[in-house]
Each structure stands twice: as C-alpha cells, then as structure tokens.
C-alpha cells in the first residue's frame, strides 16, 4: 500500500497545496483547491483511477461553502480516492469534467438540480428528476421539507386521544 501513497504524494505535489488523509486501508481522501481540479483528476485517471463512481454535493452551511466530492475507483487495485474541493456558496461555479469522464454530465446535472452548483461547460443542466420545481434547490440545508410537505400536500387530521397532554403535533 505504501507504494500507493508515494505515487499519490508525487501527483499531489505537482497539483499544489492539498491535505491528504487515509480513511480505511483502501480509501484516501484528498482536498484540493478548485483551480487544480481538472489537472489532478486527469492525472489520477492516467494513474489507473478510471472509474468515476460518484459526484457528491455537500452543503456546508455554517462556513458558507459547498463541498463537491469526486469519488474515483481503480478497478485493478480496488482503491478509492475522494477528491473534494470547496466552492463559495453565493457563486458556486466549477469547471465541468465531461472531457475526462463523459458520464459526469449526468452526475453534474444531478448535483446542479439539488444544490444549484453551476458546472460551466456542461451543455445540458436541465432539470433531471424534479418537475415544475419552483422552490430553492431542495438539498440545501436551509430548505425544510416538512414545512413544504405540510403546505402543499394536506394530510388527514387524526384526533388521537391517547396523546399525553403535553404531546401533540411534533415540531
């Protein structure tokens, strides 16, 4: 495994500043700035991480950042690398990685729909799953589904008499 780390360190040093940590014996996570994104991912692909498993968006509300994690997997060695970058919450723009992995077009479209992160260079950022959605992107932390569901989809009122006096409709 250690050979793997040196190989990684050598790639990373080329891509500039990064933080590197090992999660399990076959999984590493790397945090880089969004500027070095394309070069690092391209390098990793040559190093055998040919399979793009997933692009995940995470809404770090309290420090006003979106985190986007690219999960890469290498079929030969069975190792996973999580390449994550931070991007500002107000103007979330990231370069698209469609040239490296064509399938990324759909992952990016999914993340765009649920977080509102714009991937410039991705031709079709049309809505993929939701239809006629007028609210803010639903996966953001400041969107409350329970309130939305209460307003839009009325439900049956139960007059349950077993509730303790203090109890009642939950929050």
């Amino acid at each position: 495994m250690s050979s793997m780390n040196d190989k990684l360190n050598e790639i990373m040093s080329m891509a500039g500043q990064f933080t590197f940590s090992e999660i399990t014996k076959r999984q590493f996570s790397v945090n880089i700035k969004s500027s070095g994104l394309l070069s690092v991912l391209g390098l990793l692909r040559q190093k055998g991480f040919t399979h793009l498993s997933l692009i995940t968006g995470i809404d770090r509300l309290n420090d006003e950042k979106f985190e986007v994690v690219y999960t890469l997997f290498c079929w030969e060695s069975g190792e996973t690398i999580l390449v994550s970058t931070l991007v500002d919450r107000k103007t979330p723009v990231l370069p698209t990685i469609m040239e490296i992995w064509p399938v990324a077009r759909f992952y990016e479209r999914d993340v765009h729909e649920f977080f509102g992160i714009v991937f410039d260079g991705n031709p079709d950022l049309k809505p993929l799953i939701l239809e006629k959605w007028s609210e803010i992107p639903p996966m953001r932390k400041d969107f409350d589904p329970h309130k939305y569901s209460k307003e839009h989809f009325p439900d049956r009122k139960y007059s349950a008499d077993f509730l303790p006096e203090g109890g009642g409709e939950d929050e």
Binding site: K126, L130, E131, K132, S134, E135, P138, F143, P145, H146, Y148, S149, H152, F153, P154, D155, R156, Y158
Partner: protein
C-alpha cells in the same frame, strides 16, 4: 349508503367482479409483490384478475405505495383514460397519510384528495396474501354495488381538480418531451 340495484345492474356487477383486469403499472415500491401475486405461487388469475397493458382495457388501477408528484400526474392521465367502472386500490400507509415519507417534499400525503380510492390495503408493502385478500374484498364490494368511486369522481370533479391543481401546479404538461 346501500343503493338498491336494479336487476340488470346486479347481474352486471356480478359479471364485472368476476373478470377484473389490473393495469400493469407499478407506481410505487409495492409493485415488487405483484409479480409473485400474478405468477404461479399466489396466482390471482383464479379470481379472474389478470394484468392488462393498456389503461383502456383495465378496471383496477393499483397505487402501490408512495406517490411522487410526477407519478401522480401520470396516474391522473391513466385514471382518466380508463373506462367507466374503474376502481383504485391504495397499497400501504403511504396512500393513507404519507407513511414513512410524511415529510418528503416530493410525495403526496393523502391519495383520496386527488383520485377516489375504493380500497386500502394495509402493510408497508402488503404481502401477496394480503393483496389477494384485498381483491376478494373489492370483488365483494363490487357485488354489493358499493365500489362507486368513479361515480363521485365525476360528481364532484371540480373539487378533485382543485386539489390536483394545488398539489401539482398544473396537471397537463405541454412539452412532454422537454424539448
């Protein structure tokens, strides 16, 4: 409300109950229990209930579990395409009051605000035995002439339409192909 049936209606209901055709449309997670119910082990062909491809020729529309807004639109299309004596069976607690997805922004909580439901089946995904038993109840209900969901859909159509508009914005999509 036991309505007295004319002789002809009673015969018609009896015949109708014996050969219900189920629309083969899996709207939710309960649909995984339909193939075992249709095939060899819990065969519902014995009751004359068989899967049918087109809404035109189907009598029962199964709403199997939760119903997302997008599917609700298609369920309304299919329901309105079906011919008059039509029945809707709601599976599980998701159709009664939202079930496990009570707080989801994409699923409706109460089915009978949008389409008239004739029969509810209990079980978070009812078992094949429960489905067959439910169909037996539906057949008895039809025999007694009480399964008249479709009649009150036509009667208070505006009320249903208003609910549908509230939930969906507008029911019929024009650019179905999302050009």
């Amino acid at each position: 409300m036991n309505n007295e049936q004319t002789a002809w209606e009673r015969v018609a209901n009896m015949l109708r109950a014996r050969s219900l055709w189920m629309l083969y449309y899996c709207t939710g997670c309960g649909a995984i229990e339909l193939p075992p119910t249709m095939t060899a082990r819990f065969d519902m062909e014995r009751f004359g209930i068989g899967p049918m491809a087109t809404p035109r020729q189907a009598d029962i529309l199964l709403v199997t579990g939760y119903l997302s807004t997008k599917t609700l639109r298609r369920v309304i299309y299919s329901y309105e395409q079906m011919q008059a004596p039509k029945y809707i069976v709601g599976f599980g607690s998701c159709t009664i009051n939202g079930g496990i997805y009570y707080d989801s922004y994409a699923t409706i909580n109460r089915l009978d605000l949008y389409v008239p439901v004739d029969l509810y089946l209990a079980g978070c995904m009812p078992r094949p035995e429960a489905i067959v038993n439910g169909f037996k109840n539906l057949m008895d209900k039809i025999d007694r002439g009480e399964a008249t969901g479709w009649k009150d859909y036509e009667a208070n159509y505006e009320w249903y339409r208003k609910n549908q508009i509230d939930a969906l914005g507008e029911v019929y999509i024009h650019d179905e192909f999302h050009e």
